[in-house]
Symmetry: C2
Subunit: 359 residues, 2 copies
């Protein structure tokens, strides 16, 4: 099978980590019968400054017309609002209808509380529809204000809850096959996050659609379903992270909770994500463009390597994905070659080399 | 000075902790020259079931017409949407224009990372305007969806940033006076939280108005100002909580971040809040009605006792407030009489008695 992968490094350390994704794909054992071709694509703030478009048309066209999947690095957010600029990854998720943002958060080294959970974040709507307006009023009537629309649809909520349920079942299968090291969950569990005590219609719809989706025949009796109000979830995530298996959340809560969960495993530099649609997936490290360490060659490549594996999983190349995960875990378990975010002294290059060696 | 305080226990453990607030007010040394009178008021889910109104008119009228401040316990959220029910505390904040929700989060026992920060949460708008609609569409056109309005005004953003700046200055004064034990901040700092990389108009307005408010003459050169995108804030709050002094946030982010911060100090049972308006304040523990421990007599009264002190602070009774804080801190520092949420075996009653003794 030949897979064509779009490479979109973006800005900052995106350019230092995306090459690692390419290298690990090229280094996969030939016994897997996989070949990779690559398309170099542009997006991000620098692209915007050069071309006037943060997400050039060509990037979308090539992804849609020629690629099977992609890797996206990170983009820098301008420190002030810049006219005409808006985040290309948010646009890309919508353009390609990548309706699920899947974020597994797993601890490997055991000096911390064991965590092994996946956040399934809805990826196309909520406040991310970006329908905003500013209103001018005389100061006497209260002055200027702005409004944004939070939109929640039954369809998107159903889709994300369904994939959350499927992931919960898949995780159980992998655990039973014994190919996963840590196994803190016995029964597959999906926790629905919302704030329907305040947002009874929007988050109420999310909750209701998610509950309905998770009571479909394929989940009945196999996947347990719980609920957790989002503020309380932020609390419990720290206090009892072992209580979660798969968390399903509307877009913005998923965004916030996944960063919180990343803090628990020690570094954003470890946490991968995949933007998943029908037959297409974009791997994307959860970290940003990290201007503070840009150009120093010390960015942690693991989030990207794991995102590469995650992309492969959703392209049905689970065996290849498992090889990458295992090589990364072996590096972390040994704990000798770590980048500074994990308290080590290794460079990006040294970590990549160590992991490639373990493939 | 005679202060009339409304007591609104609400549901669940609200009824077990609000009496502790009353008792500590009554136990304050007479040398302070303060007298307290109390009005027992109703609100909550049980009130709704009995009377059809979660926030009876009389409660609002008495608070507005007769009281100087109030203590609010907690209300239980029904596990399914109930027609006509909506959260009375959200309504109360709007009715009385309690525009700031102030949530200090401070660690006392030193076996954890030292944290000493305050979250200043906007308390009247954002998605809490609760303007929601459901739309029906044929499935072929995408099916049912719902929308909610997120509203951010220049006025409310200015007000909350201003009080955040004032709190940062006040905290410095208290530190300089040496009356605070731990002091991990040197210069007053306000960190503005937003998601303006996605919500450029609404959160962009919050950011801009907050920046403008914090560059007013009284803050110039005295209060440092930083910014942090909300997802990244959830991460950094865990990783470097010592980096924050006062955090100012729109309503919903403030809601989520304050629960996250509470996890860092070990228990929601420790974290107080005050809903603050012009000349009026309602103390409110950050925890909920906790149905799991209701009726067992083991709810932690500390969040309520600290909320009582916080209410007094905003009624300009700082000396009385300081006495309560010191008594609570002494109980925690000794660490012998703790409720189960802190790993102890004491009852609510035993903890209250111990703290009253230390007044
Ligand atoms: C950069 C930003 C627009 C993006 C988001 O909010 O989705 C990022 O935080 C993420 O989580 O991928
Ligand atoms: C009960 C709920 C409506 C409330 C809120 O969201 O404000 C609570 O979480 C709080 O933080 O006081």
């Amino acid at each position: 099978r030949v897979l064509r992968i779009g490479l979109i490094p973006g800005d900052g350390i995106g350019r230092e980590v995306i090459p690692a994704g390419r290298r690990i794909l090229e280094a996969l054992p030939s016994s897997l019968g996989l070949k990779f071709e690559f398309s170099d694509l542009h997006a991000g703030f620098e692209t915007f400054e050069k071309t006037g478009a943060a997400l050039p048309r060509r990037t979308v066209d090539v992804l849609r017309g020629e690629c099977d999947g992609a890797l996206f690095g990170a983009v820098s957010s301008p420190s002030k609002a810049v006219k005409g600029y808006s985040s290309p990854i948010v646009a890309l998720r919508k353009e390609l209808d990548l309706y699920a943002n899947i974020r597994p958060v797993k601890s490997v080294r055991t000096d911390r509380t064991a965590i092994d959970l996946v956040i399934a974040r809805e990826n196309t709507e909520d406040l991310y529809v970006k329908e905003e307006k500013t209103f001018e009023r005389p100061a006497s009537e209260g002055g200027r204000y702005a409004e944004a629309i939070k939109r929640i649809s039954e369809r998107a909520s159903t889709r994300i809850a369904t994939i959350a349920g499927e992931i919960a079942l898949r995780r159980q299968k992998i655990r039973e096959a014994g190919s996963s090291g840590s196994s803190i969950h016995k029964q597959p569990l999906v926790t629905i996050t919302h704030k329907s005590n305040v947002l009874s219609k929007t988050d109420g719809l999310f909750r209701e659609a998610a509950r309905a989706a998770l009571s479909a025949p394929q989940f009945q009796g196999a996947v347990a379903v719980e609920e957790q109000i989002v503020d309380s979830m932020a609390y419990k995530l720290f206090r009892q992270p072992g209580a979660y298996d798969v968390i399903v959340a509307p877009n913005l809560y998923g965004d916030i909770l996944s960063d919180a969960a990343a803090a628990l495993v020690g570094s954003l530099g470890l946490v991968p994500s995949a933007n998943v649609g029908e037959g297409f997936a974009i791997g994307e490290p959860c970290h940003g463009s990290a201007p503070d360490i840009e150009g120093k060659g010390i960015a942690n490549p693991i989030a990207t390597l794991r995102s590469t594996a995650l992309m492969l999983e959703f392209l049905n190349e689970e065996e290849a994905a498992a090889k990458i995960y295992a090589a990364v875990d072996a590096n972390l378990e040994e704990g000798k070659l770590l980048t500074p975010d994990l308290g080590g002294k290794a460079t990006t290059e040294e970590v990549v080399a160590d992991i490639l060696k373990r493939l």
